[in-house]
Symmetry: C2
Subunit: 161 residues, 2 copies
Amino acid sequence: MKNEVVHAIQDDYPDDFAWCFGCGRLNEEGYHFRTGWLGEETVTYYEPSTKHIAIPGFVYGGLIASLVDCHGTGSCALALLRKNGFEPGSGEVPPRFVTASLNVNYLKPTPQGKLLKAVGKVEEIHPKKWKVTVEVFADKTLCATGEVVGVVMPSTFAQNE
Amino acid sequence: MKNEVVHAIQDDYPDDFAWCFGCGRLNEEGYHFRTGWLGEETVTYYEPSTKHIAIPGFVYGGLIASLVDCHGTGSCALALLRKNGFEPGSGEVPPRFVTASLNVNYLKPTPQGKLLKAVGKVEEIHPKKWKVTVEVFADKTLCATGEVVGVVMPSTFAQNE
């Protein structure tokens, strides 16, 4: 199987919600994380650049946290969209989640120059609150685990300062 | 009091450990987080750029996670350096920490265009393992809280794949 997401949830976000530095297709300077289904799990692939290091040769933990974060909210959106009877690429506008909490455990130094693969398992806690457990691999090596709790973006988000 | 760190721990990291995308002074494309003492607490100031957004007008959670991460490891280094009798700027080479775990709770959307201030309280769990509780403010508004557990970078770090 190719290490590629064909139909990513982020491809279907409305333009107004496609500017995220992590996963927004319209943010020219961002990471462009793309998250899709891999059977019953979710997956995001990413190869960090040479600048995304902690020390030379090893990936920056903040990049891994960003990957877990966007993989998490994307996975929540995939799962709720599927619950509603749709798949990415179907033309249905997906829900947009925001992160309530993010946890990352760094198990091993993550080598730079390898393709990273974040794999997620999604669980519904509440119709508007979902939890994703995440494993991040560099090639076959499990380097980090994480958990994201995502909530459906409230319509008042931008007024909630 | 000016919102500026005069003597940051990152200024004193040896060149080999000054390439972090988050806080390395030698990484030209990184964030350049700088962390210092503010009395008994630690502080990092940062103003995200217009590209570091989640949706227009609001800061990207992955940027906040990165800020908490580097503020955490920097705070650990400050605290161990002080325990050893030194302050940043003294010429003593500080210890370098890596992140074992990172937790972030997003309490409110973080408005873009404000100066962010991460404030940390550091606690020794073990001589080589320290915990930092972090609060992230946008101006006076508490937008996120977090916790970082840092461990002294093992000399085998780069061999531990």
